[in-house]
């Protein structure tokens, strides 16, 4: 029985630790999003990075 509890306990610790890490990673990725890359083609064509056209192409972020 000890061996079964050892297996269950071990897997529980592994999954619990990595689930918390997953939640933290997703939180970090959301909080610290990378800055959108400027759309060089549009800027060159006369659309500024802050124009509506640029926002539409980069998802409006």
């Amino acid at each position: 029985m000890n061996a079964i509890w050892f297996v269950l306990g071990g897997m529980a610790i592994v999954f619990a630790t990595l689930a918390v890490l997953l939640a933290v990673m997703m939180g970090l990725a959301r909080l610290l999003r990378p800055e959108p890359r400027p759309n060089v083609a549009n800027v060159g064509a006369g659309a500024s990075p802050s124009s509506g056209q640029h926002r539409a192409k980069t998802g409006g972020a």
Binding site: N2, A3, I4, W5, F6, V7, G9, G10, M11, I13, V14, F15, A16, T17, L18, A19, V20, L21, L22, V24, M25, M26, L28, A29, L32, R33, P34, E35
Partner: protein, 379 residues
């Protein structure tokens, strides 16, 4: 001086001769077949030196005895190696696909499943082999597919089988391309293997990459404190890499530190393989258990991959679960190869690398978990 102390050949036993043959075999595999040469050649040389009769390298103040004492018995070498490993690993593919963390966790069932089998064959039920609870745990850790973790855990637990366990762990990592594909094909359908996954995922910022090692140390350390030495050194190495201002130290960790410790570690492990301690039925069983460990870990990762395939509306290719065993980067490459066999336009490498790097963290957590649990269940 007695004649036996002058001529080594007079003191050569058949067991020592067998170890010399094994040593030459490992050196041959490393050099001629390029099977994990960084490890097999120093280990082979260590075995050769340790088993020359009357050489005295493993006794008293002998060279191999000294590096074993200060590097292995103090658990120093695996931790130093982890600084180098952390500096070499790019966790970006995992950070871009956070769900792959769970595949790394699932594959650690290889450790616990193998422990269970080893314990059943040993003191747990059948009594066929001289495997105590802690010996079985140490054998199970081969399933981490992670050399430094195997050395660390088996040394902390004080098993007499540490040399065989370490050699098995490193040897089977080289055999991942042989062990994994048949299991991958057996547990997945052609349709599942053919699922195309997008090559690009959400980008992560440099700030996230820098914070990741710090956060991981805190999270893992607080939940599984026994894993702190391993995760701490691994993530310290990664912080050197990602900080962007410590290139010199990062390169030193990846090259000089990792190379020097690899030489000393290989010699020390080889030096532990003296004939009287190594040539026994238990060693053969440990090597058999090593295959089981890698197979069970692969299967567990694939099963979770299949569950994700169903839950994601058939968007996730279950093959990437097989990369959840650590064996970095070998198992990710195997996933890519098997995926390409089914669909020549399907590139799974980055997804598999995410699961693979997650497996590296998960194996360390599993190592900490077993060290924390052994006093409760195996004492």
């Amino acid at each position: 001086m007695p004649q036996g102390e002058l001529l080594g050949i007079l003191a050569l036993t058949w067991q020592a001769a067998a170890m010399l043959v094994i040593a030459c075999g490992l050196i041959y595999l490393g050099i001629a077949k390029e099977v994990e040469p960084l490890l097999l050649v120093p280990i082979g040389a260590g075995i050769l030196l340790a088993n020359i009769p009357l050489g005295g390298l493993t006794e008293g103040h002998g060279f191999l005895r000294l590096i074993r004492t200060f590097g292995i018995e103090t658990e120093l070498f695996p931790l130093l190696i982890f600084i180098g490993v952390g500096a070499m690993i790019d966790f970006g593919s995992m950070l871009e696909r956070p769900y792959t963390v769970l595949l790394g966790a699932a594959a650690q069932f290889g450790i616990f499943g193998t422990f269970f089998l080893a314990y059943l064959f040993g003191d747990g039920l059948f009594g066929l082999f001289d495997f105590s609870f802690t010996d079985a745990v140490s054998i199970g850790i081969i399933g981490s597919a992670d050399g430094p973790t195997s050395i660390y855990v088996s040394t902390v637990l004080g098993t007499k089988y540490a040399p065989a366990i370490v050699v098995a762990a490193y040897s089977y990592m080289a055999l991942v391309p042989i062990i994994q594909p048949p299991i991958m094909r057996a547990l997945t359908t052609k349709r599942e293997r053919g699922v195309v996954m997008p090559a690009r995922s959400a980008r992560v910022s440099q700030r996230t990459r820098i914070l990741f090692p710090v956060v991981t140390i805190v999270v893992v350390g607080l939940i599984a404190p026994k894993a702190t030495p391993l995760i701490g050194t691994l993530m310290f190495g990664n912080l050197l890499r990602e900080s962007g201002v410590l290139e010199r130290l990062s390169l030193a960790a990846q090259n000089e530190l990792a190379n020097i410790v690899t030489i000393l570690l290989g010699l020390a492990v080889g030096g532990m393989m003296v004939a009287e301690e190594f040539l026994r039925p238990e060693t053969i069983m440990i090597f058999a258990m090593g295959v089981v460990a890698f197979a069970v870990g692969t299967a567990a990762g694939l099963v979770l991959g299949k569950i994700m395939y169903l839950l994601s509306g058939k968007q996730i290719n279950p093959l990437i679960g097989a990369a959840g065993i650590s064996a970095f980067p070998m198992s990710a490459r195997v996933v890519q190869k098997v995926g390409l066999e089914t669909n020549p336009h399907n590139h799974l490498l980055m997804h598999a690398a995410g699961a693979n790097t997650a497996g590296q963290i998960a194996s360390v957590v599993a190592g900490g978990a077993v060290l924390a649990l052994v006093p409760f269940f195996g004492g």
